[in-house]
Symmetry: D4
Subunit: 252 residues, 8 copies
């Protein structure tokens, strides 16, 4: 494009000032290369962190996004706020356990890709975070399988499900208390595992610090960690990995 402009200047088709203006735009696009990979994110919803925003604030953000016909994912949104949105947008889906409200433009056609994300946790107390991960991953377009009662203290329940977990493309393992579950699962699988400490526990748990340290210090290989209670972040990561597998599958 630069060459073209210069030739037009050379041949008099463009005056110097016209060329300057065009090149100014061009130069302003200098930074654009920073952003052009973002296109890959197309199909990903705009994400709104609902905590600390009023229902009106959330609503007006949603309106702005919807005008661009973009998918939407609102995390940490209470039932009361969600109901407010749902009155005007009944096509939205709300999951109360996950505290997530979302809307997806198009359910894609049948895919050949068979992979899925395994979401593993020990019990009902970690459910909110596990579901935040599960719903996020689904909203971002991945298949999810839930393994929700497979804690360390009753390890045989984990073994009953281990083959299905092993066949996942990537696992998200959510654990509070002592946070040992990712270490155990990590020793049994050969795919990437994203560990999510939760703030569930009491006493010397220190709001999830105990589980966080456990996971960072895991002696099993293939484990990386996200912030305490950050089910969304874990799912985002897992979907990026799952998409790599998908891309391969599509080629195949």
């Amino acid at each position: 494009m630069l060459e073209e402009i210069l030739q037009q200047v050379q041949t008099g088709k463009l005056s110097v000032s016209e060329a300057k203006e065009k090149l100014a735009t061009y130069e302003d696009l200098g930074f654009a290369k920073v952003d052009h990979h973002r296109k890959n994110r197309q199909g990903f919803p705009e994400v709104i962190y609902g905590e600390g925003k009023t229902k009106e604030q959330i609503h007006s953000i949603i309106k702005a996004i919807r005008s661009k016909d973009q998918n939407i994912l609102v995390t940490r949104i209470s039932k009361e706020k969600a109901d407010y949105i749902l009155r005007e947008h009944p096509e939205f889906i709300y999951n109360e356990t996950a505290q997530i409200l979302y809307w997806k433009k198009n359910i894609n056609g049948k895919e050949s890709y068979q992979g899925y994300i395994a979401i593993v946790c020990a019990g009902t107390s970690d459910l909110r975070v596990a579901e935040e991960a599960a719903i996020t991953a689904e909203a971002l377009g991945s298949e999810v399988r839930r393994f929700y009662d497979v804690g360390v203290a009753g390890i045989h329940r984990l073994f009953d499900n281990i083959e299905q977990i092993q066949q996942a493309t990537v696992s998200i393992v959510v654990a509070g208390m002592e946070g040992a579950l990712p270490s155990v699962v990590g020793g049994l699988v050969t795919h990437p595992l994203i560990a999510v400490p939760t703030s569930v526990g009491y006493g010397a748990n220190f709001n999830g610090l105990s589980a966080l340290l456990t996971m960072l210090n895991s002696c099993a290989s293939g484990i990386s960690v996200v912030n305490i209670d950050n089910g969304f972040g874990a799912a985002y990561n897992a979907v990026l990995i799952d998409n790599i597998a998908k891309k391969g599958a599509k080629k195949g």
Copy 2:
């Protein structure tokens, strides 16, 4: 196999006690399903953590592994210990910066897969951890590209390289001091990013705690974190992800 044994009992080909013995083995293999996915790890080297082991201990572990013709990777091994091993195993490769000694049985043939792992760090002080990640990833069979002078404080150097980093399958971003680099890179790429805090710094750095917290709290999506200075762990993770891409590429 169970059916076969039973039929042989039925037809008298096996006595009850012979069948019992065979099934005992079978039953002992009951746990085997736990381990059978490990086959996927074939080709991966046995990993020895060299710190705190004498050169003689390392040597005897190596001998045991070599008898099985298995690849080997020794991390956190000093030059002095490595020299000792190299005298008997001159075919091994030692990287002093990474403090890694390794041996790979077979350099695989040309692959069609063009993907690579980007390893990003700010400067010379984080080099040891970055190289631990790089050499580990290479020893585990992945292509690596190094971006080693792209810190936050001189951000234009990062932009000079950003396109190459964006085209990687997965990034490892190593940072000490305030640990802000993964957040910046994370905002510019659309692939999974593994952040490695290092213990480089002083004062209120608290041996890497500062960088670790920064990374866990990153507001960029797609970032997961491994333990302080754990270049090996980051690489292991990245290779698992890279292998997912490879598998797709092979299919294609």
Copy 3:
């Protein structure tokens, strides 16, 4: 049992497919050896952690357990929730200080065993945790003696009771504030002592951290520690030890 099945196949009493089905169960029981020691826990109630569960949730869990005629222990359950359960299960016992609701199928006949668990604490502020331990131990079938006003600051009250404490099979010592009581008791007894830090205190107490560290650092021998406020865990431990003594007493 395996031999039996094989002989039945040999003699034609079982077809191959029938045998396979039976052995399938057998093989599924492969993991059962992992669990078979659990039988020792018979008589132990199912434990439900009441905090964070609604009264309806607790009720439906109780119904499921009662159908198996199993003993039940609900910890951290408020009076209001307990009243809800008691309306349908008036045979249950609720202890408000301990915040425990439980039911025991059979009060065992007179035992020859004379041992007991001593539960020691300094004052009214640690009572909730001490009673959680006491009621738990009683619900699990142990004899308990309470020593509830024997703090470090008025040590003569401890000495008035020391002989009875010394004759216990195992002691649980509950302490908040500076948590020094286990060290003092630990120097005076020759049986195992389980220390429970409580979150009682203010200022630099840091929600029980102060007491926890004190107990972990105790220079008296024979002390082990459970989590802050974990009266239940201490009692569970103590009962396991008490049961060892009981088993011996029964033999004698």
Copy 4:
């Protein structure tokens, strides 16, 4: 004895002042009841914490104890110091891994009691603490079985040994890094389990804090915790419990 003195006063065999003197002694023994349970500790060695003491200091303490023909256990003593003691006391036994030097007066005759303490750890790096526990327990008179390669990351090795661990009277589980092993073992056994965090690890391990918190927060029942690296303390506890079982066995 009091009655005797009074009768002698009554019958004139003792003058008032003579009786007073005798009773003074008696009264001084008032505190003795505090200490009389210590007799139960007979047979237990005197314990010397070797760290920070010179070999000459250790030697002179040993001489003082030996004059009372008492068993001796020196913990945290280096080979160089131990050699110094062994030159004069060749009958002592030194274990270098455990850093323990000890002497036992009499190896007791055959006992009917078959119980033992299981000492479980994941690998070579936790060996020093595990051996401190093992040697201490043996020196205190208990039978010990070692399970030293049964970590969480390769959980099948734990299962190969689980039955023997389950049959122990009490377990000591030693773990560094993320410290998850006690939670897993705790879910599989029905006897008391003493967890020992070790300072083995790096990065966000914080000298064992990570493992300590994991163990305190364990969701498995029956676990209590001792200080970081405190193999001695765990063994002391375990032996107290084992002695309860022994006492029962002797009665039987």
Copy 5:
């Protein structure tokens, strides 16, 4: 008393069994020497920590103490609870800022002793703790002078009052935020100074930890520290020191 009993035995006035019973009491008093210095505390009120107790509980404790005609000091008691007590005990005095309710039997006659406790703080935000100290000290019988607006940031106000502070027998210096005031005052006085960190502040104040550490690390000599917000403890200490001065003054 012992002699008396023995003489009665000698002379037949007491039977052996009667004497035994009396001496048993005597022996029980064996520990009494532990407690006999407590007499020095006469005149000191019984102290009740009001936080976490209901008004009814406080009331019944007060009734028990009043029956012994003992002085009373209730700390951390809200106005609402105090009003409840005052309805039945209108002779009590309540100080709302200090959250203290107390009653003193007798206002002692004129003393020759002129000493006083200086209570120093920076501003209105530390007032509650300063007043807790002041009222406590007064209730315990000491003279108090308040210096309540002499912070570090406006140091000239401190200097306007420094001579009066210097002439105190002992100072209590209360400070939140950065807690620097005790260091400054400590450099200007030659009497003992008790520093009280308060939880006043925000951000990296960590509920008083900042001020606590500042005071412990003070480079001025003659400073000792009590727990965060512990105005009562500081006053108790200061009164003990003031009483030493008083005793001397009385002698003089």
Copy 6:
């Protein structure tokens, strides 16, 4: 002045007692030199920290200050309290986001000085602190430019504004979460930068500790840090620096 007084004494114009009185004042002014630089602060408002004060308390402090015709700045004051003040002082200005209420006596005439303070933050969640800084700086007499949507994760928005930020006299950069923004801005500007960590975040953010440590450890030069959420303190600092520039501009 001293000489004058002495001459008047010498010449009898002043009696000794009159001179003494005058010198007393003089001596009292001994400390005055400590305070005389305060004159430079003229024009600066009196600052009232509103949190924890009742509206009545704030009102009476304001009345006292207004009697001296002094500018006023109340920080951390809720809308409800501000409304109460505004009813009597309708000339006051209240900013709800910043939670600041203030009054400035005189809007100074046109200045030649063109400098300004850049206030930079990433998003809506840090707005309260950023506005506290902005309104404070304006109330203290500085020009302010706001850059409120320029976070690290979307770094191109920062670049769109970087020239204006670079031309500021001094920058205040407000950031929560991982707190990386000051490092990035610090690498792009050549003027002093004051970093303000906020308590915005969750999980391992620890109420702003994460951001605080990040900023203290920044590898960019020219950055200093104030307390968590301390927008006021940052602005006060920035205005002091801006005033240095102003003074120079006025001279010029």
Copy 7:
């Protein structure tokens, strides 16, 4: 410049490909606007952090910089390493207390500007950090005045110097132990104050954490803080502020 190139193309002085090449450079300079404010830093030396670099590494970095005739400042460099450099560069200046080696191209001519940076600390133990700040500021071109024995515990020494400190343009206050000095100085000056905590102290000092928290929580206005022991960072900041004053002075 763009216009010039385009005119040359228009007039045929440049071919399209020549213009393209020139503009390529121009476009590459697209990011240059990011960096163009750096020119303001001219005269500032290149800074090398000496710790952890060998003398050879430092030497070769110096050689590279000297080829550009640039000023140089090496911090945290030991005497032994400095001597090595000095042998080849005898024109360099080394300050052992500050551990700084530097070289300045040109000592600028007499300036009209009279301002200076006050560097304040309490005693000999903080000297290394204070001198790192002082030498850095001097090497960066500012006038420095040292006030090195003015601690909080002996506050009269501070007052003897307070007027000179007050007349500085900016102060750097260095303090270890409890770190209270900045609060006191901050209450007495009306210019910006940069506080540097040092790691000097013991016990609950926690390597400077105590002083750091004190300074962050200071109730005096106008204080900002740099990292523990970061004398260089404080000086860099102070010089940026001093340069603002200089610029004004030059204009005047």
Copy 8:
């Protein structure tokens, strides 16, 4: 004195300039009132903190002080440095355990005062700190009694000495590990008690933090705390209190 000067001016005995000079001194003494209470410290030695100073530095400080015939106390001074000083000052006394070197001008005549400071600790590991306290107190002129083997774990040894401890004017209680001793002693005495945590311990002791927190949280009244290992500070405090008692005794 001011009046006197003025009268001399009035009467012509002093010229104005002479008076000015005298008053200048007087005015310079303006701050002196700040310092005049220091006279009370006469007899107290100058204290030099030896750690981190060379023997030559210590020597030259000593020479400067000796020229004023002042008592001297050097703390934290190694034997090797002390020997160097002792060669020139053989009249000095060195205590190696306490690491203190001191010199006292005059041993005062017989005093009527019988009071003493009790220094209490548990064992040999806390000896260095206890002796630092003891020698300091003696060097500052107080009588000291040592109770050095009275730990919490063997509490009967404490009771054997409790009466003597109770009769002290003030106690210093030194404890490492769990730091429970001050709580126990504090419950048995009625005089002020200064608690000194030591850094003795391991594991979760965190260099004395555990003992420090225990002491701050003590539920016994009359306890205040100094920094970890700060035997000197405790002694300085105790001597100030002891001097109050002495002053009274002298009057009497």
